[in-house]
Symmetry: C2
Subunit: 177 residues, 2 copies
């Protein structure tokens, strides 16, 4: 599955594979977009499309919209989310959305957990040697973990065999953001 | 140019061509999207892409975000806008955004003009026999008209000659929404 923490300047992503009751972080990092907004949307679309074609996830896990006071920031996050949902639809992926408090509760046992607590739990749950960086990637890993722990079906069984891939720990890699 | 009134269920559109100081409404209507949200984003993306490939506009005119009280509705409009901006970026179009009051003032001389007054002025400005329907298409025509009257350059001169098209009144058609 693919977890995404969308913005229009930075999109944190995490590809996570499930093996029975455990999960493996396959790759994570941040897509960065520069320039004016239309160019950034284009860069995000191209980056996510490439990622989805490579990793072939069947589920997109997204944070549900947080309605903050900064409406302009909200608008930009909404635009990043829309592009992510479009790419998911183009590749037949299911979309699962979780409110921030649900993610924190699922990962750290507390809907008001600190970013630091979430980062520690993500590191432990995926058996990583050190905390993932940057923060956007950690958020994307937390989303994917939330989807796993909430019983989200990995969906791989419904895909044609040719689209399945097996990951081992050797495949683990960290794309520097 | 292409005027868009975006939503995720209905996207009003209007293709307008400028000839010196006058403008011609080339086609207008509504793209409708059905089903779940990811499928609707896909339908909007496909519909707008087809429209842009056919009409080859150089400018996308959009309504600037209206921050209403219904945040869910706002989110949906934002997603439609994001898809429209992505399609514009993919085809090298400029994006011009106008707040609703600016559109009303440019079209009907009054930033608080009624929808009916805007529809009458749009009908007159484009020399249409009857008021365009549905309302989403009228809004898209108003946006395009606003862009014309505010001196937005039609940009055609900067396009390769092969991409230019000449429209006459015979080309006028109304795509039923």
């Amino acid at each position: 599955m693919l977890g995404i923490d969308p913005g229009t300047l930075r999109v944190g992503f995490a590809v996570v594979d499930r093996h029975g009751a455990s999960q493996v972080a396959v790759e994570w990092g941040v897509l960065r977009a520069r320039g004016e907004l239309p160019a950034r949307l284009l860069a995000i679309y191209a980056g996510l499309t490439e990622l989805v074609k490579r990793a072939r996830p069947s589920v997109l896990a997204l944070e549900d919209v947080f309605f903050g006071k900064d409406v302009r920031a909200m608008e930009k996050i909404g635009e990043g989310r829309a592009i992510a949902k479009l790419v998911a639809a183009q590749h037949g992926m299911q979309v699962a959305e979780y409110p921030p408090a649900t993610v924190k509760r699922a990962v750290a046992g507390n809907g008001a957990a600190s970013k630091e607590a979430v980062a520690r739990m993500v590191t432990a749950a995926f058996g990583l040697r050190e905390q993932p960086t940057p923060a956007d990637a950690t958020d994307a890993l937390a989303l994917a973990l939330c989807h796993c722990t909430r019983g989200g079906a990995p969906q791989a069984a419904s895909l044609p065999r040719s689209r399945r891939r097996r990951w081992t720990t050797e495949d683990l890699r960290h794309l520097p953001g």
